[in-house]
């Protein structure tokens, strides 16, 4: 678990550096080695690792547009994910998806760039598991800004009435871009929403991977045993802007200064130390994580750019005869 936490953190920090290359001092979204927007999840690690520890490759995870920590915890191929983020041909989606749209069917991982819209497909994965008498479960992640969305609320309801093996995880980082949580909802404890659908709800009020692990153990166990869905809300913290380039002028200095004190990583290290893990072992794990991340980034940057003609592939698995590139308005 610690290994995944530090891998995710180092990954986010390195992506930030790579992303800002060529974008300083003046931020220009179309410059630098990483295309598009980049939404980082540093500070969200407990919600990812505490839950995904209980999952196997057969279990499905749908992540939102801030997906890297969950992908790492779920075991998504780090090299191919990184190549995708750099827009390379050997990336998970051949350079077509990018960082908000990572798909790794080998470990049943998918995500969406549209708020809360990963919830219904997770319900569908759970439905398939139930119909096939498999004990696989589905986990869907949303941010606390997404809890007002129909896609989220309708999914809670459908999963509940069909007793489907789904765990809904709300990552509560207090901010939906510039919108503070208290103006999104009058219900501070988001897990209470579960009551409205007659399903169990649990809030992990502190930013602690072990506490998340324990809550998820109960929820995933309940799902696997055929006892239906659970809602877990986890308090996390957004250490960076909503997207890279977001100056966060809406956030107070006091709040931003508090973030280091709330960082889950030093707390986890202290706990591991108390439980007998030596400093040397912690350092070894950190170094291994760093190496893995550096290897992935180095590999990704060496990968070829896609050929422009590939833009026309993959619209359909079985393309109608008329959809050649020329028919589609392409050059060839």
């Amino acid at each position: 678990m610690y290994r995944d936490v530090v891998t995710a953190r180092h990954y986010e920090e390195r992506l930030q550096e790579e992303y800002l290359e060529g974008k300083q001092p003046k931020f220009d979204i179309s410059a630098g080695p990483i295309p598009g927007e980049l939404h980082l999840a540093a500070g969200h690690e407990p919600a990812a690792v505490g839950v995904c520890q209980h999952l196997t490759d057969d279990d499905t995870v749908t992540a939102p547009h801030r997906p890297h920590h969950v992908a790492i915890a779920k075991g998504v191929d780090l090299k191919r994910m990184t190549a995708e983020i750099f827009g390379r041909r050997t990336g998970l989606s051949k350079g077509k998806g990018g960082h908000m749209h990572l798909f790794d069917p080998d470990v049943n991982f998918a995500c969406s760039g549209i708020i809360a819209q990963g919830c219904p497909p997770a319900v569908g994965a759970a439905m398939a598991a139930k119909k096939r008498n498999s004990d696989a479960v589905a986990v869907s992640y949303v941010g606390e800004g997404a809890i007002s969305q129909g896609g989220f609320l309708e999914s809670l309801n459908l999963a509940s009435v069909r007793d489907l093996p789904v765990v809904f995880v709300v990552e509560d980082n207090d901010w939906a871009i510039s919108m503070p949580k208290e103006r999104v909802t009058d219900v501070a404890d988001g897990s209470k929403r579960a009551q409205g659908f007659d399903l169990p709800g649990e809030r992990v009020d502190h930013n602690d991977p072990i506490a998340v692990y324990e809550a998820a153990e109960r929820a995933v166990g309940r799902a696997r045993a055929g006892n239906g869905p659970t809602l877990i809300e986890v308090q996390v913290h957004r250490r960076m802007g909503h997207f890279m380039g977001d100056a966060q002028e809406y956030r107070s200095d006091e709040e931003v200064e508090k973030l280091d004190r709330l960082d889950p990583i030093p707390k986890l290290e202290a706990r591991l130390g108390r439980e007998g893990l030596s400093d040397e072992r912690i350092e070894e794990l950190r170094e291994a994580a760093t190496r893995r991340v550096e290897d992935a980034i180095e590999w990704a940057k060496e990968q070829p750019q896609p050929d422009p003609a590939e833009a026309y592939d993959d619209v359909f698995v079985d393309p109608p005869a008329s959809t050649t590139a020329a028919e589609a308005g392409g050059d060839d």
């Binding site: 077509k96 760039g113 809360a116 800004g145 129909g150 896609p306 026309y312 308005g329």
Partner: protein, 342 residues
């Protein structure tokens, strides 16, 4: 033409976003019933600066940040409009319309008709469109055709700051629902460089640009290029480039898709005989097909050549070489013009 309604006076150069905000602010001062709501419109000032500064002047009751729940807040705009207010609702990206499409095309667009005209929905739904910054298939669509296809909404697409202000005044005063689609790359935001074209002189005072009046942005005699939004500037660049080779292109900026000024297009085609339509939306069943059909069914004999430039029918890819391949640029427009005049 619209210019006749514009006042004399200082014409500072404004970015398109500043011009839009100026119109919104003026209408809010004039009419207590005008208010703004949407995601990140208050403290953030709109992700694309479309509401920058409004919170300071008008406060949270009239510039309302709302939870991420498009069905409820777009639908609430419909309800408030039916109750006689004049809401301006922003949906951050046109791509997100899918979440709340029922409120748009079954409520906002149809209630006037279904009520036999007994209620109306004077709201403005504004949203960002367009790609060109590698944000991939769920954040880069243009979707002009989708909204123009569904009856009951007026659809506005400004290409310059001057037009953006006048069209916004018209949109807010209009008694029907108006979808106001602005291209991100035209807004003049710091982190997304704009071409030079959209930043124009803008009169200080209020003025309206009427709907249904296309603007001939460049006169020419050899070929008519019909386009809108960002691609007005791409077409202007192509026309200037071709002028050196003796090809004289006329550039028609549609400015509104509903109502559509087919007459200006026809007049131009009757003069040039050749038609090139340029659009950043998907090619099939879209603006390009519609414009060609309007000309063909009205005056087939005027057409000597037709070319279409649009997004091939593929979702917008992420990697730069792939996105560059599918998004039309000035070079693509230039090629199409050459093909038309050959």
């Amino acid at each position: 033409m619209a210019k006749a309604t514009e006042p004399e006076g200082t014409q500072r150069e404004l970015t398109m976003s500043r011009a839009m905000v100026e119109a919104i602010a003026a209408e809010m001062r004039d009419d207590e019933d005008v208010f703004v709501m949407g995601e990140d419109v208050a403290d953030y000032g709109g992700i694309f600066d479309s509401t920058e500064g409004l919170l300071d002047e008008f406060g949270r009751e009239r510039v309302m940040d709302v939870p991420i729940s498009e069905t409820s807040f777009v639908g609430a705009g419909v309800g408030a409009a039916q109750a006689g207010m004049r809401p301006i609702v922003e949906l951050m990206f046109a791509d997100f319309f899918g979440v709340c499409m029922d409120q748009i095309y079954n409520q906002m667009a149809k209630n006037t008709y279904m009520s036999g005209g007994s209620v109306n929905v004077p709201m403005v739904l504004m949203t960002a469109v367009g790609g060109g910054y590698n944000d991939a298939a769920q954040h880069s669509q243009t979707l002009y055709g989708t909204f123009a296809h569904l009856p009951g909404m007026k659809v506005v697409v400004p290409s310059t700051a001057r037009d953006a202000k006048g069209l916004m005044h018209t949109a807010i005063r209009d008694d029907d629902p108006v979808v106001y689609m602005f291209h991100k790359r035209l807004m003049g935001i710091g982190w997304m460089p704009a071409p030079d074209g959209p930043k124009t002189g803008v009169p200080d005072d209020d003025y309206t640009v009427p709907f249904g009046e296309a603007d001939v942005k460049r006169e020419g005699s050899d070929v008519t290029v019909v386009t809108l939004g960002l691609h007005v500037h791409r077409a202007m660049a192509a026309a200037e480039s071709l002028a050196d080779d003796g090809v004289d292109a006329e550039v028609v900026d549609l400015r509104t898709l509903v109502p559509l000024d087919a007459e200006t297009v026809l007049e131009s085609v009757r003069k040039t005989g050749r038609l090139v339509v340029v659009d950043e939306d998907y090619r099939s069943y879209g603006v390009t097909g519609e414009i060609v059909a309007r000309v063909a069914e009205t005056d087939l004999g005027a057409l000597e050549a037709v070319e279409r430039v649009a997004l091939p029918d593929v979702p917008i890819p992420y990697a730069r070489p792939l996105e560059n391949e599918v998004l039309p640029d000035a070079g693509d427009v230039e090629t199409a013009i050459r093909n038309a005049v050959e």
